[in-house]
């Protein structure tokens, strides 16, 4: 349950805009780093206080501030103060159970995203909330913990490889978005491998555990879809040119990300459909197995019941029971029983019951 629903009741009764961290505290110490770059220039530093990064004076360069750890109220308040962010947004940043969304304020765009990872141990998808603030010449990214998803981007900036260094803050935001969406493919691949394992189990040894696993897959797909649907809308709004801060030169790249989200949606639907199919096969094979047991056993019983009846007849103590006195009576009865038993087996075989 706590996976699906984070405790928000501690906020009930508080005035709107109150900063309360909702979610699990995943990191001990907040870590802030800032990287400032232009096509020719690149400077990275760790800062202990968010105030050191402001004001972002230089219009010629792009500044990317990374804040790992969002549970510290004072710290988030400082961001609000220095970067002039609306209090409700600060509340959103600290509240980790948001859907992906995008909101346009004139000076900046606020984006909430979900970074997904596949937990190999319990085969669950885990979500971390990433918030981005995209300004004219800066991007501020908020993470719940230090994950390495943005490291390749940081490397590319430092090494000056790729297009990212030459282009501005909007391209940086796109790159971060792209890195997150690429992570979804990795999650789907692992999920796919898990589905393959369940299919294997379904054939070799289906049990009620298999059923629970199938349901887990289905509910994970549901969860995933809830992250991807609104993400699709976020990307779509960005690529449609609704935000002046996103230049039209970026749209073609966003269309590419959009295609990826569509592709992810398709795969999710396919996985859901496979889970439904596996459910049907599970139920069918369980009842099939049961049927088989019942059938063979009942057949054995059926063959022996009439035979037992015959033996019962000759066990009766009637004074006058002629067969009992015959010389070959016993052997005749034995033979008769044998023939009877065999012919029943033959009959059942013919009827394809065994």
């Amino acid at each position: 349950m706590p996976r699906l629903f984070k405790i928000r009741s501690k906020k009930a009764g508080l005035p709107p805009g109150s900063l309360v961290h909702i979610g699990e505290k995943k990191l001990e110490k907040v870590k802030i780093s800032a990287i400032e770059y232009s096509e020719m220039y690149c400077h990275e530093r760790e800062v202990s206080n968010i105030g050191e990064c402001f004001p972002i004076k230089n219009d010629q360069t792009t500044t990317w501030i990374t804040i790992c750890g969002i549970h510290n109220v004072e710290n988030i308040e400082n961001v609000g103060k220095f970067a002039n962010i609306h209090p409700l947004l600060l509340e959103d940043i600290m509240n980790t159970d948001h859907r992906p969304k995008i909101e346009d304020f004139e000076d900046y765009i606020f984006i909430v995203l979900k970074l997904l990872t596949f937990n190999e141990t319990d085969k669950r998808i885990e979500a971390e909330q990433i918030s981005l603030i995209l300004g004219k010449n800066y991007v501020i990214s908020f993470q719940e913990k230090e994950s390495d998803v943005f490291n390749p981007v940081r490397e590319r900036i430092k090494n000056g490889k790729g297009r990212v260094k030459k282009m501005g803050a909007d391209y940086l935001a796109y790159t971060l978005l792209d890195a997150i969406v690429d992570g979804y493919f990795v999650v789907l691949e692992k999920q796919g491998e898990y589905i393959e394992a369940i299919e294997e189990e379904l054939i070799t040894n289906p049990s009620i555990e298999t059923l629970k696993k199938i349901h887990t897959v289905r509910s994970e797909m549901l969860l995933l879809r809830k992250s991807v649907w609104p993400l699709r809308d976020v990307v779509n709004m960005m690529r449609k040119g609704e935000f002046p801060l996103v230049r039209s030169i970026i749209h073609v790249y966003l269309r590419d990300v959009y295609d990826h989200t569509i592709h992810i949606m398709d795969t999710i639907e396919t996985f859901r459909d496979m889970a439904t199919g596996m459910l049907d096969i599970y139920l069918s094979s369980v009842s099939n197995k049961m049927n088989e047991v019942m059938k063979v056993l009942t057949l054995i019983a059926t063959i022996f019941i009439p035979l037992t009846f015959i033996s019962g007849i000759y066990g009766m103590n009637f004074k006058y029971l002629p067969e009992l006195d015959w010389r070959w009576g016993y052997f005749a009865v034995l033979t008769g029983m044998g023939i009877m038993g065999i012919s029943m087996v033959v009959y059942f075989r013919k009827k394809k019951w065994i």
Copy 2:
């Protein structure tokens, strides 16, 4: 049934606009209180007659009139008379089975909302209808009974904490809306705990009672969705700026409430999906349990039926039955039966039937 459908037939045949209280009478005596405030000023009083509150002269202050108890026709008529409200609205206020809705009259906006509480005893969600009339400088709120959901707001006004005292009637209406929606999260949390309890029961001791509980959860979710879908529309219409009485400065706050309703919708869908999954697991585990019983029992029967047949053979009274005269015949037969029984058990084990 009475939960789902309130008796309206007593209204059939009456002319439109007739004031008839539809619903349960939850309170003995109507209680009216008025609070008048501005940024610097705050005055609260209890009134015995609604007429005392009118006319609301002062444009500098915001007046919030709370009416607890809506079953008194005369009282509601007075509201209509003094505040100049359309008769159909008065009818709506007294009729407690409305869906959430918003209606714009030039001088005021009329909002119907549902306040939800989770009844721990029978695990049902209970709804109370809240009506709001938002005028230029006043808010009138109608409640079925005295509940404490608006107390934090009242405290904030009296203590002068938060933004509420500085801003006008539209912000007050938003705050009330927000308080109600926050209550939904509390209901969902309790519902979530209940679902957890059912899941526990499903694993340890599933019975037809569990099935009924699962269905209760599903129908509660349906009911909840029926309250939240139109609420979402209400909030959306308000935040889209369709109503001149709601200033654009409030829209960003309403967008926040809107996000909450979306989040609630998502959780409801998740809960419904979990209920469906639990239903499948219930049915599977019931049939599994039955299968297990049948299997073991049938196996026992199957082993003993052929053995009984053999004992029947040697119980026959044939004069000439050679084995009966053998010295070790009895022990040979006993041994044979033992071997037969054991080999059948081994065979069934191998076939994984036991």
Copy 3:
């Protein structure tokens, strides 16, 4: 079948606009009455020939012509002639299996509605078709039989109570619409009581009859929805101000009727959902009952089969069977059987199989 589908094949091959009565003839003699009223004036009379009502000269008064019985071709043709109605509309009036609909001709609006009643005997919803023609200063209403649904309206006009006498023909049409929709609530209440009775039956004595009743409820709800969905559209088109003959002062009243139709839709959905839930519980409880029978009975059989086997052993006629000669052999075996039987019962109890 005839409930769901009225025989139209007799119309195949006829030219469009041919007047043929489709449906059951519910009334022997056509009855026509006209009531002419203004705020101060009211005159009601029965007419034998529709022609007597025309022309409707007085613009100061509102005329309401009621025609009970629509199977008489000549009569309907006369309406067409005197009131100048399009031939296709006349065809529609005589054809009682229409969906609710509204059509705008410049001089008048044509509305088809369904009046529903709940037949207590076979628990079915019965529909009667009501057609309305709303002109500038007149309303013509066509009914299949004399029902008392419009009597309260007629009384209000004659007694001068309520708003209806002061307002014009469009308000009259709204009042009739409102009366019909109010009737739906009565039908739903009765349906709700019937569902309660089925639920009761489901708990005490479920049978295949219960299943058929549940299906009846579901198909009735389907039928009802088919009447209410298009009705909703009719009301919506009227309240949206698409028709010049419906003055804007009436819109707020129509919005009220619209809310009612939404409420009815919701209740129908709830009832459908309850029927689905009852279906699940029915199937579960039937299979549960069967399981219980099978389980107890199989248990009895299982306990006695091994015991019978033992008695069979000592029924064998071996010459040398030492136990038979023992003094307490019989009692030892009886005791052994008793212990065996009891321990099996204990084991099954422990396994929760009985």
Copy 4:
């Protein structure tokens, strides 16, 4: 299969616009007739060559050319040549597995329709494709075989009855459309009777054949819906006034046809829903019947197994078995067995198991 999917693979690889007849050849010889009429005039003739009908010079009259048989490539090519029709349309005419559709070319409108008939033998709906070309003063209709659906229209033209003779080509097209849609009602009525017969069978003697019939009904309804949905769009586009060749005076008639298609859709949905309900009842009654058999039989077995055990006890050959020597032992045991058997029956009765 061939019903659902006509072999098109013979077209793969051919250039677009190649004339190949797709479908069954239903008629040996092509038959062409032309009827030219105005309000006062009417002339009908059979032609052997389509060329004889062209050019259609007279603007004062309406010409209706009927072509029965569409498998002849040369003939269809001639129509293209003389009436100046786009090659792709000719391809469409010869290809009988099209959905209903309408296409606007400036000089003419091309309409594809499905004429449905109910085959009483195998209870299947059969479709024939009808293509119409509506020009300014002519209609060309293509049929697969000579059916009598258009005969009433032809009679009305020749007899000068009805409106058809006075109005132009667009009204003629409407009349043909109306005749086809009227045929759908006949098909639905027959389908309805068939459903009634299945319901009867379901109650008296359900078998796996009944199941197959229910599935047949469902798939027929699916097929029907696929013809009616696009037909609805065709009629809707015509009545919305998108085509200059259809005068506004015709729109009210087309609205009538549109209502009919809606009505047909509703009936199809009802039939589908009934089929689903019958499926549920079938499955329930099959399992019910099985349960009943199993129950009674198991009960018989259960009663006799303990009794047999008792008889087994007294069949044991113990030297010292005191009851055997009692004078009334046999009768006491018989009585005991009788009481035991009867009390078990009573117990089962009380538990409602028999």
Copy 5:
């Protein structure tokens, strides 16, 4: 799994626009050919380097460049360089798990399509990705392997048959599109035959294998739908005239292709529905067969159990058991058993249990 989801994780972390071949390498060596034609002229040649085809100078002719094999990065880069294609498109060409899509760049249109073939061995549908770049006077087509789907088009160009030689590049693109869509019909026909075979198997010999085949058909239909839905959008966008490079003269041809895609969608839905129906019949017939076995066997047991009980009675060793001494006791009991057995059979027959 690999069928449904291609490994993309190797791309995670790479900058956008990196050229990585995603999919199976189906061809050893890349093969490039170019054909240049106008109404009067036609020249075809194989080229070893894509650079040889550029620049495409002649505006009077149409050039069609075919590239079989897309796994070679350098080769695709060259296309980008010479034909001036956006890097993201090059990435799309090499990535074979795209949905069909169309993208408009001012100078060219980029189309991704799926060529489907039915693998007779494992009854699976196989997809090959085809990318088209349509410029003003050229078409570049990319295939994964050398398939013969475009051969008829090439032949028509070389032989000068059909319309294709006279018209420009847009008509060529349409022809290729048409050839691909025609291939879908072939796939559907083969799928239809396979469904027929499954239906046959369902009647004669249903097994859990049949169930798996039915599920395979369903998932293939799902896969197919995922290719056809976006294809439909591609064609629809082209025929709506959104792209200046597609002349309006081509729209009527595209409308024809559009009709085909609709037809394919319909057939897919029908097949899915048939699969669902087969699933129901499978489950019903499996449980029917089991029921039959159980019934007959239980009946046999039931008849013999009471008879065995009777024989047990007369096997008891009571000293005083009068019937045993009767002269005809044995024969009387035998006769009684016979009558009892026969009357039970008659009773069961009457109850229709056997």
